[in-house]
Symmetry: C2
Subunit: 454 residues, 2 copies
């Protein structure tokens, strides 16, 4: 294959497809080069034997995620509320405690947790989503890990362990793996231009980032985008090399080569730097991207004939303080045609459980579910899981993380245009980085940048 | 090119070449695939117009670096002592102060510096070089950055700034970029099996890691190794893909493909993960390598007709507390045929100065030299520099760094054999990781591993 287009887009996740759509609608020629044999990136539907569709990757959507919601509406993909009736369950020390709201009423933790909750929100309100390095206390907040901060802020180490249940699905990593500033930036980004981000919106179900899901599964969105783009999307085309010349760039791989006026990169940072860049990326960009490894997060889900826990007055949402599963959700289809419990297994749990034989991990996950919603959970009709860390074209998930010193030292290069190359991907978003909404926002921005430069 | 060999080695730096030599000497067939058009990796000679040879990369060698010293001797490469007569210079607040020994006699810093020095050595003595994650306080020491530790240990922030002058040439990064445990591990590794590593050995000139240099330049070593290996070394052959099968592996790129029973990787972590691995690397290895970005270090050197500072009783070694240059050395050739002053520009100095126009950076470097050894330094007969961060096949230098949480969480995978693939490169050494000695040690180990497995 040899082509000449206005813009070559690397990566057919939501961000790349949105970028391509913007260009195509403006009458520009565009090709999207995708390494996988499918579109969607970290967004991937999973079909159950009975035809029910659920998600192996990004699934949830919520208020202030205006860009993905508008896109879904335009593409005719409906949302439905995540099931949140009844009680949540808090499993600690072998006991299951029912509760409602965000924080479980653990008296040993509650004083700490209240302060943590308050202070995180307070600090996050001082972090500009488009320039976290410019926060008044950026240097101070980026010089310590989130773990350091917990240690100096809380009295009971169990408080950090509880918050891990919230953090893990967000970053797939441990509190020591990220700087305080990084986490505050994520909190600040859990909102939009008129509604500042908060911890609750990032971690909550009703009214939060887990508020709703998409009917038919979130991958419908990239699938429909790709359908509209037609043969502008090329699958099985991993980009190996990008050469920039004075007035054009050549993007190539085993698939052939594409000559383009501008290039949009819409893949995770670790895959972007694995491309052979000629000339090499500017140091500022390269150093930053190389310091943005992905979190590590698995999704493990058990399927039941029905969401039996609902009859017991349980929401299916649970927080656990030990074992491989620290948080779980009811991700049953809207029509109740099956009951599905989802566990996140990330960070050190991914490290310690992810490489064991599947039956061993499945049994541990089901045992965790049983602790929360009762012994029927050990007898599912099906079980499936998705490990994003061993996905060749993701290298992890749900999002790239940055440790101590990275944002304050090198963060400014995140959206810098490098020659003819523009940077999309959810990691480059201001609001909702790491989410589908961030992917759409980044794709729209990159598309506008490229259009303006053509 | 299509070949079948016992072992394919990726990377013709010292580590890869040493590994290949071990295999060839044992009668095994081996091919070394090198991306560049030269051997040596981060070891690179630079020739001056008058024929004098100096180094743009790794240069120094010292006591306990037995493996590189033995190899050099065997290859007929002699050493000569780094010039260390006369006074060092400490430039702070616009004043140049002469001193001898390791620590400059700054009365505002000395109490702190003495404690820092003592405690670093003390703590390092508890870090096993082959398993830093197993140090008694590994979790505690890996949970904070070196910067955090300085902040909680010292009274005067200027102390950390002074130590930066020592750290920068070692890691090319800021104290917040590495965990305390990482740095202690580097200290512990500045020795050998009978002489425990110390801060002084890592940072000192006489008796330390900067004790001597190689006559003819350090690159003579990889050049002579490659000469002996002959057509077993293939240049301009970047490896793009490694596919592992049941009983062999195929290593390929634009150069063609090599079928091998075992593979040895001897490139920096960031380049190793950029290879397209099929199957993907085990999560434990991939997560670790992706969390090992390179430091950022430039070498900037000015050439004079003679080492004029020596007549003034100066060693040419200097520590500076501000500006782009924080440490400088006399790297004149042994015969005194020229005078050369070398500056390291790393970490935030690389970030802030590395991308400016060359004349601007050169003037700043020369001004720094002048502060230390007098105004004649502003009139060199030549100037050259090497920026390892923008080197496509290094991505930085002098060594890969690990931030908070990486060694304790993921370090154990560093030398794990992955299928038919063994791991060399200086970063995988126990002693002198990041140095030429570590490269030799790692190459020897990987070679022995592969031999045992053949």
């Amino acid at each position: 294959m040899e082509s000449t287009v206005d813009v070559a887009v690397i990566g057919a996740g939501i961000s790349g497809l949105v970028a391509a759509r913007g260009l195509a609608e403006a009458g520009r020629s565009v090709l999207v080069l995708e390494a996988r044999d499918r579109v969607g990136g970290r967004v991937l539907n999973h079909s159950l034997p009975n035809g029910t569709v659920t998600e192996a990757g990004a699934a949830f959507v919520g208020p202030t995620q205006d860009h993905i919601l508008a896109l879904a509406q335009e593409l005719g993909v409906d949302t439905f509320p995540e099931y949140a009736d009844g009680d949540n369950v808090y499993v600690s020390g072998g006991h299951a405690l029912r509760y409602t709201g965000t924080l479980p009423p653990d008296l040993l933790i509650l004083p700490d947790a209240t302060i943590v909750h308050l202070r995180l929100n307070q600090m996050a309100s001082h972090v500009p989503v488009d320039a976290p390095w410019a926060a008044p206390k950026a240097a101070e907040w980026d010089a310590i890990s989130l773990h350091d901060w917990f240690r100096s802020t809380t009295f009971n180490p169990a408080t950090e362990n509880l918050f891990l249940s919230f953090l893990e699905p967000l970053i797939g990593a441990e509190p020591q793996d990220v700087s305080l500033l990084y986490f505050l930036w994520l909190m600040a980004g859990a909102g939009n231009e008129t509604n500042p981000g908060t911890f609750d919106r990032s971690s909550g179900v009703r009214g939060g980032a887990q508020d709703s899901r998409f009917v038919g599964g979130s991958q419908l969105i990239p699938l429909r985008l790709a359908e509209k783009l037609g043969d502008r999307v090329v699958l099985n085309a991993p980009v190996r090399r990008v050469v920039q010349y004075d007035d054009h760039a050549v993007v190539s791989g085993e698939f052939g080569s594409v000559t383009a006026k501008r290039v949009i990169v819409a893949v995770p940072p670790q895959l972007a730097v694995a491309i052979d860049w000629d000339p090499v990326l500017p140091a500022a960009k390269s150093v930053l991207l190389r310091r943005m490894p992905m979190g590590a997060l698995m999704k493990c889900a058990a399927v039941y004939p029905a969401p039996f826990w609902r009859a017991d007055g349980l929401s299916g949402m649970g927080l656990l303080t030990a074992g491989p599963v620290r948080s779980m959700f009811d991700v049953s289809p809207p029509d109740g045609s099956a009951g599905i419990l989802l566990a996140f297994v990330g960070g050190y749990r991914r490290r310690d459980w992810g490489d064991r034989p599947l039956p061993e991990r499945r049994d541990a996950v089901l045992a965790a579910f049983a602790e929360a919603v009762g012994p029927r959970a050990t007898q599912p009709s099906g079980y499936f899981e998705q490990d994003w860390t061993t996905e060749r074209w993701s290298t992890g998930g749900p999002v790239a993380i940055t440790g101590v010193g990275t944002i304050s030292g090198y963060g400014q290069a995140i959206r810098t245009v490098t020659g003819r190359v523009h940077w999309a991907g959810t990691e480059t978003s201001t609001y909702w980085a790491g989410y589908m909404d961030g992917a759409v926002r980044a794709g729209e921005r990159a598309s506008a940048e490229a259009l303006a430069a053509l």
